[in-house]
C-alpha cells in the first residue's frame, strides 16, 4: 500500500468512529446494541522518518440488561373504606434497552387483616399521577405495559375493592410485581439474540423482576347526634309553660379512626316556639345569627352549623334557646 492510500484509510476509520460517538451516559448504562470499537495507533521512527500504523479495530456489542424497579408512590397507607380504592405504583426500566413488563397484583400478603379483591391494573395514560376512570387505560390480561425506554418510568394504578367485612383500623397490603417480558431468571441468565439490536438479553441482579407493596388502612368514621333539652319557666321552675325558655343542646359525636368532612348540623325550631335571637353557641362560644360570617346561622325556621372536617374521637356541642309562645 502506498503511503497516500494508507493515510486515506486512517481518515476513513476516524470518520466511522466519529459517527459512533458520543454515546449518552445514562443511569441504566450504555444502550443495548451499542458497538464498542477500539483502535490503537502507533507512531515511531524507523530511521527513514516518522511512520504511523493502526491496529485492527476490535468490536464489542453491548448486550441488553434486563432490570426493573417498582416503588409505591402512595405517601403512606391509603385511607380506605369498604368499596373501591386505588393504590399507585411506579415501574422504572433500570436496564439499558427498551423492555415491556408483565404486571401482577397479589392481594394476599402475610400479615393482612383482610384481603382486597383486585379489580384491575391501569396505566396513568394522561400522566397526571391520579387515577382517572374512563381516561386511564385499564390493562387486559396478560397485563403488560408498553415497552419502556431505558430509565423511563411509568405510573400504574392497582384498583382494589375493600370488602364490606373490613372494620375500622384494619390494614391490608397488595404486592405489585413487574417482570421483564423477554424473560426472568437467576442473575446472568442469557437469552441469545433476544436483546436490542441483535444483542443477547441478560438477566440483571434482581432477576429481571421487582415488586413493591402498597398498603390500605381502613378508617370507618361514624357520626351520631344526641339532642337534649333543659326548660326554665318564668317562675324559677322547669315547667313547659308559655313564656318558659328551652335550651337545646345537640352533641355531634364522631367516632372511629378517620375523620368526616363537610359535617353540617341543622335543626328546625319546634312549632309553638320562637328562637331567642343570638343564643346560638358552638363549643361554648357564641355565634351570630347572620349567614356567612361564622360557622353558624339562625333564621325563622331553624339553625344550621357547619362543623367542616371533624376527626374521629371528638364531640362538638351546639346550643340554642327558644321560648314557648304565649
Amino acid at each position: 500500500m502506498t503511503k497516500a492510500a494508507h493515510l486515506d484509510r486512517t481518515i476513513g476509520l476516524a470518520s466511522i468512529l466519529a459517527l459512533l460517538a458520543p454515546v449518552p451516559a445514562i443511569a441504566g448504562g450504555i444502550d443495548a446494541g451499542t458497538l464498542i470499537e477500539n483502535t490503537a495507533q502507533a507512531t515511531y521512527d524507523n530511521g527513514s522518518g516518522p511512520q504511523t500504523v493502526d491496529s485492527n479495530t476490535v468490536t464489542v456489542l453491548v448486550d441488553e440488561l434486563l432490570d426493573v424497579s417498582v416503588a409505591s408512590l402512595d405517601a403512606g397507607a391509603v385511607a380506605a373504606v369498604p368499596g373501591s380504592e386505588v393504590l399507585t405504583f411506579e415501574i422504572t426500566n433500570t436496564g439499558n434497552g427498551p423492555e415491556a413488563y408483565l404486571l401482577t397484583a397479589d392481594p394476599s400478603v402475610p400479615g393482612n387483616d383482610f384481603d382486597t379483591t383486585i379489580d384491575g391494573i391501569a396505566v396513568d395514560t394522561n400522566g397526571n399521577g391520579v387515577y382517572d376512570p374512563g381516561v386511564d387505560q385499564i390493562l387486559t390480561g396478560p397485563e403488560t405495559t408498553a415497552a419502556l425506554d431505558p430509565d423511563e418510568a411509568l405510573t400504574v394504578f392497582v384498583l382494589v375493592t375493600v370488602p364490606a367485612t373490613a372494620v375500622d383500623t384494619e390494614t391490608s397490603e397488595v404486592t405489585l410485581t413487574a417482570s421483564a417480558v423477554t424473560g426472568t431468571g437467576s442473575p446472568g441468565t442469557t437469552f441469545a439474540g433476544a436483546g436490542e439490536g441483535g444483542s443477547d438479553a441478560v438477566v440483571g441482579s434482581n432477576g429481571a423482576q421487582a415488586s413493591a407493596n402498597g398498603s390500605l388502612l381502613v378508617g370507618i368514621t361514624t357520626v351520631s347526634l344526641v339532642k337534649s333539652a333543659v326548660i326554665s319557666d318564668p317562675f324559677g321552675g322547669t315547667s313547659a309553660v308559655p313564656g318558659a325558655t328551652i335550651t337545646y343542646t345537640i352533641s355531634a359525636v364522631v367516632t372511629g379512626s378517620g375523620s368526616v368532612s363537610g359535617l353540617v348540623v341543622t335543626d328546625a325550631f319546634p312549632s309553638g316556639t320562637t328562637y331567642v335571637a343570638s343564643s346560638l353557641t358552638l363549643a361554648g362560644s357564641g355565634l351570630t345569627d347572620a349567614s356567612g360570617d361564622d360557622a353558624g346561622e339562625a333564621n325563622a325556621t331553624g339553625i344550621s352549623v357547619d362543623l367542616g372536617t371533624v376527626a374521629g374521637g371528638t364531640t362538638q356541642d351546639i346550643t340554642f334557646n327558644v321560648t314557648i309562645d304565649e
Binding site: A5, V23, I36, Q41, N46, Q51, L65
Partner: protein, 160 residues
C-alpha cells in the same frame, strides 16, 4: 471528473478496509494487533471465586473489559520513539484501578499526564481533579524496540 471517481474508489476501499480490520502491512516493520477480553468472575463449586479473561460474548453495562495492543518489530532495524495512542471508546470509562502511572488525556488528546496530575473544568467553570471517568485517551511511550522484540500494552475499562 476522472479525479473525483478515483477519489471515490479510494474512499470505498478505505471503508471496506476498515470494516474488515486489515492487518498491518507486510512492508511495515512494526505490527500492531488489537484484542479485547471481558473479565468475568466465576464461582467454583466450593464457593471460592476466580476471575478469568474470556471472549466478550455477553457484556452489559458495568462489566469490565481489557483492551490490549500487541506490538512486534518484525524488521531488522530498531524502532525508536514508539508512541501508541488509544482513544477510549465513548461507551467505556477507564477502570478506577488502572495503573496510576498510565499516561492519559482528559481533553481529547491535547494534553497528557498521569491521572493524578490532571484537572478538568466543569460546566460551572470550576476546576476539579480528573477522575478515571474523564479519561479520553491513553498513551504509552517506548524509547526503542529492538528488532524481533514484542510486547503487549493494555488498559482496563468499565462499560458505562
Amino acid at each position: 471528473m476522472f479525479k473525483i471517481v478515483f477519489n471515490t474508489l479510494v474512499s470505498i476501499a478505505a471503508l471496506v478496509g476498515a470494516a474488515i480490520s486489515v492487518p498491518a502491512i507486510a512492508q511495515e516493520p512494526l505490527r500492531l494487533k488489537g484484542d479485547v477480553k471481558a473479565v468475568k468472575t466465576v464461582e467454583n463449586d466450593d464457593g471460592t471465586t476466580v476471575t478469568a479473561l474470556v471472549d466478550p460474548e455477553v457484556v452489559v453495562p458495568g462489566d469490565r473489559l481489557v483492551f490490549s495492543t500487541y506490538y512486534s518489530n518484525t524488521g531488522s532495524e530498531p524502532v525508536e520513539n514508539f508512541i501508541v495512542t488509544n482513544p477510549l471508546p465513548a461507551a467505556v470509562k477507564l477502570a478506577d484501578d488502572a495503573d496510576p502511572a498510565l499516561v492519559v488525556s482528559v481533553d481529547g488528546g491535547a494534553s497528557w499526564g498521569r491521572l493524578a496530575e490532571l484537572q478538568v473544568t466543569g460546566d460551572d467553570g470550576a476546576t476539579r481533579a480528573a477522575t478515571a471517568a474523564d479519561v479520553t485517551h491513553v498513551r504509552w511511550t517506548l524509547a526503542q524496540i529492538a528488532p524481533g522484540a514484542e510486547g503487549r500494552l493494555e488498559y482496563p475499562a468499565i462499560i458505562r
